[in-house]
Symmetry: C2
Subunit: 457 residues, 2 copies
């Protein structure tokens, strides 16, 4: 795919140089809006308005939706009121809302001023829902049917009103605005008798979400039930919108990216990597680095506290990095697994004890194997091959005992913290490796020096 | 959702105790197959065959698809040939293949023996494609149309053949089996004239994948273009199957989970967390822990090599954990960001220099801020508040210089390794934190002792 875009890109650039605008247009109209947007993003920004004006109305709107917010803003700023109106009124309501949410206040004002009255009303309604809620990502453009319609009437209604709907394939049946069922176009088309009433063929076991349901849960439900769309209802069970699978896919990708960023010790970012400059990256990375540097004061204090011990047994220092890394890795193995399971809706707070018990058993297995392997490695490599006479059996035992204990502590902390964070309403991903590393570091050092004090003196 | 399942679960258990089978059946038929499967999974395994036999044919097949492989195997083993035939022949081909891929050889043999001949042929064809390829996840049940059909004929064909198709909403137009275009049911229904020929209204700019395209790329494309389905063609451009959005969603979730597991230092697992026992977890976690323990030999060797330095300046030891953690965190910030960008198809090898340059600028910003903050913290906390007279300005300078250098090295390594791994055909996620931590640890220690040697003696 990329190869293709790169080639088209250079062709278009050459054509742009020689001002062959009609040829450019001929090429662009054969392309998919996502690809047009991808090509546009790699071109110089000042050429964008010119290129964009070559697109026919519908392709222009579809391409606009796929572009990055800063390019959208640039284009809007350059648009005449007429051009802006043309693009905005071609958009689906949920796409218009997505764009508006990224724009500065003055641009939002202009967009709303140029929207058709009905659309402006719908945009304003959706904008009132909290960020990341089902209400904020839904669209109000769905097909609704009455229970007393026949199959034939329903198909007629779809044919008459379907053109502006985000999906026509799942139609919702309402009575006094209350959602009472749904029918699919497949079932309408395959119905044996055109006179069958919708209420006699509709699926009444409707799964819906409320306007305040979290978007991550909506995406999970769409994925779990393999639905094309999920209906959104208000507090009184009235249908207010739908969320389609493509928006759910975007949510899933964004949420997974966000989880990974947080687990990697960054504050989440809306921008793609290529669009972020060094300053953006810096801003998202420095908070955790600072916090972790300061929290490392504790590990420093612990080591300072045992300075005398270390001065007499300098050999102990050599094993500190290994113990700390093993502890950190063990802890992040558990936390990453548990965080992902929480994200996928698999684990709840009520599973906590079950999870801890499983992690303890795993830690005992890992700890035993690693301690034995580590003992063998120390005696073989450090003692025999490198002939380090400071490395006594007691030192090796101290290291291995600490290692086993550290793994146990790390795994229990690693699985407990995310589940508790979720319970307290925090994002479990915050409890991933960087955070756990610091706690485990401190504990493993305390155990290390404690065991050393016991065994070596 | 979970609350609901838990309640239904306890109700069903009570009903099962008192053998109220018809009431159980009445409850189950109102439920969605995914929910039935979720409830079944939380019940005792020996009750499963009994419960499963209460389901009507279609719901039974749909529930079966949603269950975990070990429960599926248990059920199949208990099925009579007749029961097995009933379930298997209700399945879509791609679902049947998914199940077969998880079963032991003798179960596969029984499944194939009980499949209808046409289905067996299609299953065998799909089974030949490599794991994780588009061919292996596609289904052969799609609607194909001829270019010379009219809209009316096309709709008739859909009504006649649609019942067994995985989706009817996108229909593919073929000529001598070659894919030449597609039409959506929406465009057919909204067509002004029933006599319009398919070839005059079809979209000819078809985006398709080959049978060997990686499933992750397929999922990315479906998500990028917001398609309901993507056609799969063979080497000669002949249509052989389609992949629907719900399968793409599953692929996206699985691939993100796999990336996270690998980044967290584990070999990826097919089982969910609750389904994995301690032994499973152990097997997936021990390889990296062992490898990292052994690679930590290098950091140990470096410290041993500078034992004399450390013996005279024990205070230096106290800062080792902080330096190592900061290095590890900086490196994993870069690697996680870059790995995710690669997974989403955003970064290629050709971007390497651009990425490195961006990371260098970010590292300089982070390094400068952290070094200054760290200097202030050391002088204020360690020197003034804790009154540690060993902490001289020179020691603080040594620590801060090392920190800035470590961050630079960590960020450059963190962004370079995943991109190079991808280029060499490895999974970039393997190059995440645990691996980078070890390299960065060694380098930061070398820098630390090098700077100390220069400044302190």
């Amino acid at each position: 795919m990329t190869e293709y875009n790169v080639t088209v890109e250079s062709t278009l650039m050459a054509l742009l140089e020689s001002k062959k605008y009609s040829t450019i247009k001929d090429i662009l109209v054969t392309m998919n809006p996502s690809d047009v947007a991808a090509v546009f993003e790699r071109m110089e920004q000042e050429k964008l308005p010119l290129l964009f004006r070559l697109l026919p109305k519908e392709l222009a709107a579809e391409t606009f939706v796929e572009m990055e917010p800063d390019d959208q803003e640039l284009l809007i700023t350059g648009f005449s009121d007429f051009e802006l109106r043309e693009v905005i009124n071609e958009l689906y309501v949920d796409d218009a809302v997505d764009i508006i949410e990224e724009m500065p206040a003055n641009v939002v004002k202009r967009i709303l001023a140029q929207s058709a009255p009905e659309m402006r009303k719908e945009i304003n309604e959706i904008l009132q829902y909290p960020e990341n809620s089902a209400g904020s990502i839904m669209t109000t453009e769905y097909v609704s049917l009455r229970p007393t319609m026949t199959v034939e009437e329903a198909i007629l209604r779809i044919r008459r009103t379907g053109v502006d709907k985000e999906t026509i394939y799942t139609c919702y049946v309402t009575q006094d605005k209350t959602l009472i069922g749904f029918v699919t176009v497949k079932s309408l088309l395959l119905a044996q008798d055109d006179e069958t009433l919708i209420e006699d063929m509709m699926e009444t076991n409707v799964i819906s979400v409320s306007t305040h349901t979290d978007q991550e849960q909506v995406a999970q439900m769409l994925s779990k039930y393999n639905f094309l769309a999920l209906p959104v209802v208000d507090g009184e069970g009235r249908l207010v919108g739908i969320i389609t699978f493509d928006d759910a896919m975007d949510v899933m990708v964004d949420e997974a990216t966000e989880d990974m960023e947080i687990m990697g010790g960054m504050t989440p970012s809306d921008k793609t990597y290529l669009r972020s400059n060094a300053w953006d990256l810096f801003k998202h990375r420095i908070p955790w680095l600072l916090l972790l540097m300061i929290s490392a004061t504790f590990t420093g204090m612990i080591i300072t506290g045992f300075e005398n011990l270390l001065a007499t047994q300098v050999v102990l220092t050599a094993f500190i990095p290994m113990l700390m890394d093993t502890g950190g890795n063990s802890g992040s193995q558990s936390s990453v697994t548990v965080i992902r399971a929480i994200s996928l809706g698999e684990l709840q707070f009520s599973d906590l004890l079950k999870v801890i018990w499983k992690e303890i058993k795993t830690a005992v297995l890992c700890g035993a194997v690693l301690a034995v392997a580590c003992f063998a490695k120390i005696m073989l490599v450090d003692r025999l091959i490198m002939n380090n006479t400071d490395v006594s059996v007691t030192v090796a035992a101290t290291v291995c005992l600490t290692m086993a204990a550290t793994i146990l502590v790390a795994k229990v902390i690693g699985c407990t913290l995310p589940i508790c964070a979720k319970r307290l309403g925090f994002d479990p991903a915050v409890m991933a490796s960087p955070f756990i590393t610091t706690i485990v570091d401190a504990i493993s050092l305390l155990v290390y020096f404690g065991v050393a004090n016991m065994l070596l003196f």
